[in-house]
Amino acid sequence: MIRNVLILAVVMMILLATPAVVSANPPGYPLALTPAQFDYLRQLETQPEHAAILDMHATYKSEREKSLDATRLSDDILTVAWTGGLPATIIILLIAAAPL
């Protein structure tokens, strides 16, 4: 009886573990580099075609950023118009109402 249960448990463990093992591509965690691999990479990086990457600049204005910039600009214009426009309107009304 115990033997059957143990066999069943082992079979279940194999069945449950198999999909994880089969689908483990790529590795679940980055594989460590050996000192030799690391040194080779560092040497490779010094070659002119690879070393040129160091001076590359990555900066990109995405469509979303362009949209945000446009929104910020319109907000600034509205703020200035509102800030300046309200006192001006009050002054105009006061001037207009002065004869009364």
Partner: protein, 213 residues
Amino acid sequence: MRFYASWRASLLAAMSVAAGLAGCSGPNRVARYPDGALRVRYEEAGTFSTCLVASVTMAGNYLLGERRLTENRIRNDLKQAGRDETRVGDLKDYLAETDERLHLVTLTGQLNDEAPTGLGYWLNQRGYPVICVINRDPEDAAFNHAVVVIGISPNPTGGSADIVHYLDPSSVEPLHSTEAPVFEQVWARCNHAMMIVVPPPAGRGNDLKRETR
């Protein structure tokens, strides 16, 4: 007192509405990772010039196994050190000086599985996300943009071209999946620039720091 309470409730309600209208919902998340892709935590670029910083953050955190790096922290550190947040060499120097002594491998890559410059080699055989610089605008050579490639998988529609999956730190949709020839085209405009964040071999951390200074 009643007036104060109602005023406070009104203010909170107004702030909630404003936050909702402004899309203040925190960093975007990847809804579903493609099969076989690395589960790299997404980091959003705060400004248009920090796509490289955000990409390095994503790759670094994946290697470290937790969110130890943030885009904001790296950006501030670079600023204080007088470094350029858009330049690859400056990010490389910065990583080497962090507590983790990480190394940014900088190579001209290719879209195959060949070691050590193949995209597939680092992704599928070594398990590292790869930062690639791409340019989607053929009219502007300066529109270089850093993204994090997290997987290459067979085409689900049955096409012969594989699908390249990458996280874009500056996009509304974090995950982009594009056919390999299309990716190759935008990658080639940036000379196939690729970067991999790796740890130095055991016991080499201090040596690495000393050499890069």
